[in-house]
Assembly symmetry: C2
Homo-oligomer: 343 residues x 2
Amino acid sequence: MVDPNRQWRLAERPEGTPDRDVFEFVETEVPDPEPGPGEVLVRTRYLSVDPYMRGRMDGTSGYADAWEVGDPLQGGVVGEVVESNGTGFEAGDIVTGNLRWADYSTAAGTDLRPVDPDLAPVSAALGVLGMPGRTAYFGTREVAQPGAGDTFVVTGAAGAVGSVAGQVAALSGARVVGFAGSDEKVRFVEDELGFDACVNYEATDDYGAALDEAAPDGVDAYFDNVGGPITDAVFTRLNLDARVAVCGQISMYNATETPAGPRKLRHLIGTRATVEGFLVSDFAPRFEAATEQLAEWVRSGDVQYRETVTEGLENAPEAFLGLFEGENIGKQLVEVGEETGQQ
Amino acid sequence: MVDPNRQWRLAERPEGTPDRDVFEFVETEVPDPEPGPGEVLVRTRYLSVDPYMRGRMDGTSGYADAWEVGDPLQGGVVGEVVESNGTGFEAGDIVTGNLRWADYSTAAGTDLRPVDPDLAPVSAALGVLGMPGRTAYFGTREVAQPGAGDTFVVTGAAGAVGSVAGQVAALSGARVVGFAGSDEKVRFVEDELGFDACVNYEATDDYGAALDEAAPDGVDAYFDNVGGPITDAVFTRLNLDARVAVCGQISMYNATETPAGPRKLRHLIGTRATVEGFLVSDFAPRFEAATEQLAEWVRSGDVQYRETVTEGLENAPEAFLGLFEGENIGKQLVEVGEETGQQ
């Protein structure tokens, strides 16, 4: 097999908001490298682009390793096994793992997990049944912990994580309020996901007033994907024993200097509120159970999801950059290769 | 008994930093009012002034009720029972409770607790064996939770709460680093309290560099009484699973607008750090046990304490205002009346 293998590398570290120059598209041959013992050659079907990758570009995330200039970009991939070299996988199996932004990747079989195409379309393994879905699940149930009758607020409500977080909170009996960045997103969040209310933050500067209307009883649990002025408004409206789960701060990822905002720690004292950062990886021993629960909710219709699919590996940078412009509804994916029908 | 009863009232709400005009000194007669059934007349020995009272002056603390203009000021008092009207107390008993800034107060017997003069000088019931000591005890052990080998950082390290918090943390085996506002305080904290290091924050603007030197292994537990730029520097140096106890934010209490600072929530994600506000009142069922433990440590010398005593009820406003200038070392008290020897 001597197919071309297109792949993306980091061309330079971005300063502030990245542009296309950060990415370099190169072509090698397949396999690259040859799968050794216990390794698998995977043909990419879908590639995930996620906000946290911005931190890998300059090493500021504090948790995901920095990419060096020249490194192949990597992320969540769903693909098809082309060749298996003494692993439990067989050609045609659908797998997921952390692989290259490339047509093909070589990976250790132990770094891959099987994807069950009967659970949901295989792309869901990168969204509602993958890292974003599990992030929403654990961040909501284990960190923000909304209870019945609580008001739960989530930013990035139309995004891959926020859209699931709100629905998980609703299943706990919470009143769910989202923030999203367009009327279309608000309609999606309210009408399709069934949130009790959603604020279009692009249509107002007064997030406090918007919250007073959407969450008149204050905020008991807050799932923050965005940070910045919306979070400021929430902090001033936290109820007694409120819990804040800090999942992401996408509004800050492209900043060249730490943005300033009002100091809000004082609001934690009277409320005895807790603010806790988390990473989904801390819950790894329970990933399988979470995915099963999410799959059950997807089957029952309790959890709805949407994907925004960009066609073509060559457009992966645009798909990634669009995350910071709020262009996606639900999970942003890149479709790299079609189904071969080998299944 | 027709003695004069001097007392302080709120003359006006302060704007920003309060001055003497906020306080009105009035004179009534004793008793005022006459103790009814189940009530006690108490002669004030010591009066506590505490930073949280600033919030009561304009109702911004979020937890302590606002004083209305004309209201008598109130706070922790240690006094001597002059007259008991069908309570378990007897004349001469030393008691503590939340009473007026006055020569004499009338209170329900059920609102008073006995003070054991054999435990420590009775003024300690307003400091190390009172609310500040318990705040330090629970905030350290239950919220910040420093373990053996952890680095524990506390602001306001020479103050009533911080001085005890650091010693409680040291008893858990933590390396203890303080921030205080003068060389004299630093000597007190390092030499008398035995902290491993103390930074004079008035002698540097680069709190980050000071922390890198005093806490080279990062910060595992942070007890914050002050807020502002020191807290910013700590947030950037939090270790994995660090815990932040937000006890006070004295640097902000006199602000007329919420001060701005760098947005730091992002640092909580990779570290999975937790920031939690608390009030000592949440631990009320365990107050007695905490006081006993603190008294034992005071007796054994494991916990040292100091008091700054301002003489005379007429000087209570200056004692209070001095808190925001950092004039006190250890617990700031006002001595109102001397021991009568009735004991």
